[in-house]
Symmetry: C2
Subunit: 207 residues, 2 copies
């Protein structure tokens, strides 16, 4: 039984199974992935070029669901801050759904079209709000850094913050209070995002 009538594999099938592995184990391996797909390891290479390719496919699957607002209409009068907020929240939510995936592609270059399209929309919005090109790049970089850092923070919430015997009194106080886990990470993200948006708003008003 060498070639089946209908193919057992496809890039999408491979990426989804790898995504499921990463969600539950934090990593994936070509042989283990092949086993889960009931296929030999070498079969995968008929559909993907290698492990890096699979990771890039996973990124695409994660980000593809993000709905980007249409920025065309609201040149200067529209709620451009609301547009940026919506993008940042969606972007972060998409990553937070697969938190253990993030460390995997911090090492790789972004080539995913959805991600690049999102950068483009952000650039349009900042430009329309009156940001010079250089300031636009800075603002996008700040947003991107914060979203990615926040998603990373959500990836290992309990272990990083809880049960730290070396922690001093002030840190212990802070840790005891408030919610832990995903809620803490989400709340902190919202808090920091509003600080950044307020700063963007003041900058636009000043120009």
């Amino acid at each position: 039984m060498a070639r089946p009538l209908t193919p057992k594999l496809s890039p999408a099938v491979i990426a989804d199974e790898a995504l499921a592995m990463v969600d539950q184990a934090g990593e994936f391996t070509i042989p283990a992935l092949a086993a889960r797909l009931k296929v030999s390891a070498s079969s995968l290479y008929n559909h993907v070029s290698g492990k890096a390719d699979i990771i890039e496919l996973m990124r695409g699957r994660t980000v593809a669901g993000i709905a980007l607002p249409e920025p065309a209409g609201d040149a200067a009068g529209g709620d451009w801050i609301g547009t940026i907020r919506a993008i940042a929240v969606e972007y972060r939510r998409a990553y937070a759904e697969h938190p253990r995936l993030i460390p995997l592609f911090t090492a790789y270059t972004v080539r995913d079209p959805s991600t690049l399209r999102m950068y483009e929309v952000l650039a349009q919005v900042f430009s329309a709000a009156g940001f010079a090109p250089r300031r636009t790049l800075g603002a996008i970089t700040v947003l991107d850094s914060f979203v990615l850092g926040s998603a990373l923070d959500a990836a290992a919430p309990e272990q990083v913050w809880e049960a730290v015997p070396g922690a001093g009194a002030a840190l212990q106080d802070a840790l005891r209070d408030g919610p832990g886990g995903p809620d803490r990470a989400e709340a902190a993200f919202r808090y920091g995002l509003e600080l950044l948006l307020a700063g963007f708003g003041r900058e636009a008003a000043a120009s």
Copy 2:
């Protein structure tokens, strides 16, 4: 020649050599590390418990140089925002010196004493500035996420942002302007940090 009179290895020697490998290649491997140290791979296990241990040692070496300010004196009157700025800048600078290291330990839990001490100092400063414990934790999380995200951004600056054929006009404009590489990442970090600090300042003033 089984056992030399003076040991050829130590945790520090191993970590430094691994750091040099990561700085220049972006990764390291036990056999290659052993070869650079002119030692057999199994020798390393007399000094470290494994690869994860080496990564934790590298984190310690990277962060150990951070000089933490004494927060005791400036309870409410002192320049607490300046203290936080100094910590964040130092923290980010330490990571940015070894940018390719960052993806390696995003997957691991922080146990490094220097890092925990830094969190404690931040907690003291925010508390003294009038932040309730819950707000203190939120502020630290925001800072930490932004610093880590910014350092990550610095890890792959050119590839991520330049030469993206799919990029639209607004993004191209932003990319053409201003500095590229480390300067861009550094400037964006400073920009975002000031936005966050301004937000912290307004929150403290309001309470």
